[in-house]
């Protein structure tokens, strides 16, 4: 069966995050995924998930190819891959501008990756 393998920072990485650093598609019948080890330390941990574990913030399953093209919009938390609140894939409408707006929405320091800037 085809599965999605995602790499997140290993525990030995200082300041490791839940951000997804890399991803691959593989067939579990022919390939056994492994962590990425560099210089003797686990640099990236690999987690395998079936395609139906890729979700947006509302829990809707999304296309794995979409995730591959937008991995910096997703996080891996407690076994699930989902777009974090306040990310570009958080497409919920703010019908009423009241106090329920998440604070992270307004925080500039939520931008983790400056690579594209």
């Amino acid at each position: 069966m085809l599965k999605l393998g995602i790499y997140v920072d290993g525990l030995s990485v200082p300041g490791n995050t839940t951000d997804i650093r890399a991803a691959i598609i593989y067939d579990d019948a022919t390939y056994t995924p492994a962590n990425i080890i560099m210089d003797g330390i686990t640099r990236y941990n690999l987690y395998s998930r079936a395609f139906n574990y890729i979700k947006d913030v509302d829990g809707n399953i999304i296309d794995p190819m979409y995730l591959l093209n937008n991995i910096d919009k997703y996080q891996y938390v407690v076994g699930e891959i989902s777009a974090p609140t306040g990310s570009l894939d958080d497409n919920r409408k703010l019908d009423v501008l009241d106090e329920t707006i998440p604070l992270t929405f307004m925080r500039a320091n939520t931008v983790n990756n400056f690579g594209i800037l």
Binding site: L2, A22, I24, I25, M38, F51, I71
Partner: protein, 644 residues
């Protein structure tokens, strides 16, 4: 009876016996009933009689119709044409009578008269035949009318009646005991619900014998019932002094379920042995006629001259265009190669020789795959015997079909079998179509070869093709056996034309760099005993290869797809360098020259499957900016269309 020599069609004398109509019966059932004779008759010759006991007696309660001026004019003209002495025609002709003697009961009158025209039906048997004449036409029409009115097909009876229908002979005497039907039950009568018409199951009936009963009590005519629908045709021909009717109307109050029974004498003749024989003869003639081949049936279709002509023309066109109709095979596809025979090169019919070099041109279509390929062979080659060249192709790709590309793509391969010690035994072309998910698929192949193609497609059996494991039969019926050293098989060529994705993911190139090379830092700048840069294989990643799809020797290039996060574009680059060593292929491509960025891949086939490593060498600016992601690697095979 007419004498043979007197065949004149018109009698101007009014006394020729051959033109005499004798005692033609007409049924009188109403006051002032007009009798149409249907032809001109001499007024003075008309005699009307009725039956009294066993003899005809004169009847006078009638008036003659108006003169038929048209017929008179024709007779006068005919008289002027008589040679040598013209005849002056002075008689009067009429077409009808009006019988005025009806009071309350029906009766039959018999009319005798001299007709103007000849009646051909009374001719002697051995006469050669008459010319067409009004009299002949009149006779034909009368016969048709007779057939139509007297011998109708099965009338409008219900299906239940069909089962009980009897084969009754036509009875014009009104006396046949065989036609006497007793107590025929009609339960459907319900006058309260407007169901009051009874149609006897055996058709028309004589009125005189009709007895209608309701619950075994006889009904009185015109009180409990009445007969309607006099059948004039049948009444006219009967010799009985009675009328023939078709329907009975029940006048009494009859509730649903009450038993109305009728006893009657049927006229019969609806289905009689003669009619059955006639039908049988007709069917026999039709069948004989069809057998002659003038009519097209499923059996005779292939022998019909028109079909043969069309097929010949199609063959001619196919030969002229050097193509033939596609053949569809049913093939059991899986991740493992399964070789089946699809075509052969047979020895030449005259020389018995097989050309050691040749070209084939085929169109292959299955599921989401279509390709037009050329297969060239050279049995004398010391290198590869078989090569392929894809002219055009259409197949699934990651771009179009996303992940489903991996489970729906097919990988067709071809090879040739022959015996090296007997090349003239012919060649066999084999095909294998692998697919990650096992499935029986239809593979349509069209021999699209030109004038030099010697390939002949094998016919499709409609069932799954049988894989050839160790032995098969060559075109001249000799045996190819893989155990024999002289039974050879060519190299295998792959006809996967649109690229075959072997890696799909998203790995930033800066993450790959440390797996691809490391710098050796030496304290002594003069020391060059070790390379400054040490190369590594790269990061092992999953390869999305099905079964044994990738033949390392047939790999022509790798196509790397790298995403530029800065520009937001996808860079697709065919490998600049490719090296094949045994079962390992290495390829790399420089995809961003400005910053000296390259990406590379190494694919190795092992007994257990395939191993894939990916690597990158990224320029410093791009590393700092984390600019590039490796997204995809495709394989292109030799002979495929090079795409970027």
């Amino acid at each position: 009876m007419l004498i043979k020599t007197d065949l004149s069609m018109m009698d101007l004398t009014g006394s020729n016996e051959a033109f005499k109509r004798i005692a033609i019966p007409f049924r009188i059932y109403k006051t002032s009933q007009v009798i149409s004779l249907g032809e001109p008759a001499y007024t003075d010759s008309v005699v009307v009689e009725i039956m009294s006991g066993d003899t005809l007696v004169s009847y006078t309660s009638f008036t003659k119709g108006v003169a038929d001026e048209t017929a008179i004019a024709r007779a006068k003209y005919a008289g002027t044409q008589v040679t040598p002495t013209p005849v002056e025609f002075t008689a009067t002709l009429i077409n009808s009578l009006t019988v005025t003697g009806y009071t309350s009961s029906e009766f039959t009158v018999y009319v005798t008269y001299q007709a103007l025209y000849h009646d051909t039906v009374n001719m002697v048997d051995d006469i050669v035949g008459p010319s067409y004449s009004p009299g002949l036409m009149s006779s034909v029409l009368n016969q048709l009318s007779y057939l139509n009115n007297i011998l109708p097909p099965i009338p409008d009876i219900t299906s239940d009646d069909i089962n009980s229908i009897q084969v009754l002979a036509e009875d014009i005497t009104g006396e046949s005991n065989d036609n006497y039907i007793q107590d025929e039950i009609h339960l459907q009568v319900n006058t309260l619900a407007n169901r009051f018409v009874v149609r006897p199951a055996n058709g028309s009936f004589y009125k005189k014998d009709l007895v209608v009963k309701l619950n075994d009590v006889t009904l009185v005519e015109n009180v409990g019932y009445k007969v309607v629908g006099i059948n004039l045709g049948k009444t006219r021909v009967t010799t009985s002094n009675d009328s023939v009717y078709d329907y009975i109307v029940i006048l009494a109050e009859v509730a649903s379920g009450a038993a109305v029974s009728i006893t009657y004498r049927a006229f019969g003749g609806m289905v009689c042995p003669a009619a059955m024989n006639q039908t049988r003869t007709l069917l026999k003639n039709i069948i004989e006629y069809i057998k002659l081949g003038n009519f097209i049936t499923v059996d005779t279709l292939k022998d019909h001259p028109l079909i043969i002509y069309i097929l010949d023309r199609l063959n001619l066109i196919e030969n002229m265009l050097n193509i033939s109709a596609p053949i569809t095979y049913l093939y059991s596809s899986s991740a493992v190669d399964s070789w089946v025979n699809i075509a052969h090169v047979a020895p030449d019919g005259i020389t018995g020789l097989v050309d050691s070099k040749g070209v084939g041109h085929f169109r292959v279509r299955t599921e989401k795959y279509f390709a037009e390929i050329k297969l060239n062979y050279d049995l004398t080659s010391t290198g590869k015997v078989l090569s392929s060249h894809t002219v055009s192709s259409w197949a699934t790709t990651i771009d179009q079909d996303k992940i489903s590309h991996i489970s729906t793509r097919v990988c067709p391969k071809f090879r040739i079998l022959w015996n090296s010690d007997s090349v003239n035994s012919g060649l066999v072309l084999q095909m294998s179509v692998t697919r990650s998910v096992a499935k029986d698929i239809y593979v349509e192949i069209q021999n699209y070869g030109g004038a030099f193609s010697t390939w002949t497609m094998l016919p499709s059996t409609g069932v799954v093709l049988t894989p050839v494991t160790t032995t098969t039969t060559l075109p001249d019926d000799s045996v190819w056996n893989s155990a024999e050293s002289t039974s050879l098989q060519s190299n295998v060529v792959v006809a996967s034309g649109k690229g075959y994705a072997i890696f799909v993911g998203n790995i930033p190139t800066h993450l790959l760099d440390p797996h691809t090379y490391t710098y050796d830092i030496t304290g002594d700048p003069e020391d060059n005993t070790t390379p400054i840069m040490t190369k590594h294989t790269g990061l092992p990643v999953a390869s999305l290869i099905t079964g044994s799809d990738v033949l390392i020797g047939e790999v022509d290039a790798l196509v790397f797809k790298v995403y530029d996060r800065y520009a937001g574009t996808m860079i697709s680059k065919v490998s600049d360098n490719l090296s094949i060593a045994g079962e390992t292929v290495k390829a790399s491509a420089m995809y961003f020259d400005q910053d000296m960025c390259s990406v590379e891949g190494t694919l190795t086939k092992t007994e257990g499957g395939y191993n894939l490593w990916v690597g990158a060498t990224t320029g410093t600016h791009s590393v700092v900016n984390e600019r590039f992601d490796l997204r995809q690697i495709d394989i292109l095979f030799k002979g495929a269309i090079n795409h970027a």
